[in-house]
Amino acid sequence: MKKQGISIIEIMIALAVTTIIAVPLLYLYQSGMKSSTSGVVSIDMLSEGRRICTQMHDDLKNSCIPYHGGFAMRFCDLLEADFSRAEGLSGAEYRLYRHTTAPELLKKDIDGRKMLLRPVMHVRYRLEKLQHSDLLKLVRIESSDGAPERIKVLSERVSFLNIQPVKIKEGGEQGYLWNVKLQLAYIPESIQAGFALSSSDRGRGILINDFYDVVYSDFFKSVSQNPLAPRNWHTGLTFQRH
C-alpha cells in the first residue's frame, strides 16, 4: 500500500531539525550584523577623529595674536578656553586667532604706520548638548573680516575634549605646547553613559576611540624666541614707510 501524505511525527521531526539549524544561523546572522555595524561605526569614528585632530593641529600650529601695537605677548593669550556658560563640557568654547593660508598680505594703518600684515581669522570650537544623547556636538566656527561666518559640525559623538598647555623645561629655558585630548564614542540606545568614558566601558558594548596630539604655535615660537622679529616674519615683508 502506497503511503499518502506525511505523518505528524515526520512534521515534528522536520520542525525540530529546522529549529536546530535555524537558531545558530540566526545567532550567526545577528552577531554578524552587530559586528558589521560596529566595524563601520568604528572606522567612521576613526576617520572623523583624524579629521578633527588634523584641523585642530592646523589651527593651533597657525595660531597667532593679532597685532594691536607693541610686542608683549603671552602664551595664554593664544587660546582662550571659556567654560563660564558650560554645564560640564556642554557649552564650553575654545577660541583662537590664526593666520590664514592665503598668500596675500593686508595693508593696515596702525598708529599712523602703514603696515602689511598677514590676514588673520577667528576660530571657535564649541561643544553643544545633543537632544536624546549623552554625547556632544563639536562645532567649528570660522570668521574673518568682512566675510560671513562659516559654521561646520565636526562631530556629533564627542564624549571628551580638552586642550591644555604643557610646559617643556630644558637647559634653564622653558616653552609651552598644547596637548589635545579628544574622545569619540558610540553608545547603543540601550545603554546609559556619561562623559569621559574609560576603556572599561568597551565591555558594555560602547565603542570608544581616543585621540591625542601635541602641537606648538609656529608664530609664538618664532616671535617669543626673537622678541624683535616682525609679526609676519615668514614673509620678509614688514613695514611700509610713508
Binding site: 539549524i21 545558530p24 550567526l28 552577531s31 554578524g32 559586528s35 558589521s36 560596529s38 566595524g39 568604528s42 572606522i43 576613526l46 577623529g49 583624524r50 580638552n162 591644555q164 604643557v166 610646559k167 617643556i168 623645561k169 630644558e170 637647559g171 629655558e173 616653552g175 605646547l177 596637548n179 585630548k181 574622545q183 574609560s198 576603556s199 576611540n209 581616543d210 585621540f211 591625542y212 596630539d213 601635541v214 602641537v215 606648538y216 615660537k221
Partner: protein, 152 residues
C-alpha cells in the same frame, strides 16, 4: 520492482553537517578578521601619534637644544632604548590615551653636519608590547623620522 529510498543515509547527514560546519567556521573567521582589521586601524593611528609626539617636541626645541642633550634625556624622552608609554608624562604633563600604554617607543637622534649647516636626524620606532594587541596585517613596528636643521 524498484526499491524506494526512504529518508537520508548516515553519510548524507554527515556530509551536510560538515558543509554546514565549514560554512559557519568561514563566516566566524570573516567576522573576527573584520573586527581585528578595525581594531588594527585604530591601534596604528595611536602608534602614529606616539611616534609624532617627540618629533613635534624636538622641532619645537630646535636642533641646537637637542644636540646639547644627546648624552642624556630630554624631558622624559630617553634615547636609544625601548621605553614604555605612560598615560601621563611626569616631566611634561603630556596626557595620552590608555590605549597608548600598549606600546613602547625608541628614539634615536643622529647629529648631521654638512659644510656649515648642522642638523639632527630624529628616528622614532613604535611597537606593541609583548602580548599586546599589535597592528595586524604583518606590521610589527611603525617608524617615523624627520630632519631638523639648525636655524641661522
Amino acid at each position: 520492482m524498484t526499491q524506494r529510498t526512504r529518508g537520508f543515509s548516515f553519510t548524507e547527514v554527515m556530509l551536510a553537517a560538515m558543509v554546514m560546519g565549514l560554512l559557519v567556521i568561514y563566516v566566524f573567521t570573516l567576522i573576527s578578521e573584520s573586527n581585528r582589521g578595525t581594531a588594527s586601524a585604530y591601534h596604528q593611528y595611536v602608534a602614529e601619534q606616539i611616534a609624532r609626539e617627540p618629533l613635534e617636541v624636538f622641532r619645537f626645541l630646535g636642533c641646537q637644544r637637542v644636540r646639547e642633550n644627546l648624552g642624556q634625556s630630554i624631558a622624559d624622552y630617553r634615547f636609544n632604548e625601548w621605553q614604555k608609554i605612560e598615560t601621563v608624562s611626569a616631566a611634561t604633563g603630556i596626557e595620552r590615551p590608555e590605549d597608548a600604554t600598549a606600546f613602547e617607543r625608541k628614539i634615536t637622534v643622529t647629529p648631521l653636519t654638512r659644510d656649515d649647516i648642522e642638523a639632527i636626524l630624529v628616528q622614532v620606532s613604535v611597537r606593541p608590547l609583548h602580548g599586546g594587541a599589535g597592528f595586524g596585517a604583518g606590521l610589527e613596528q611603525l617608524n617615523r623620522s624627520t630632519i631638523i636643521v639648525s636655524q641661522p
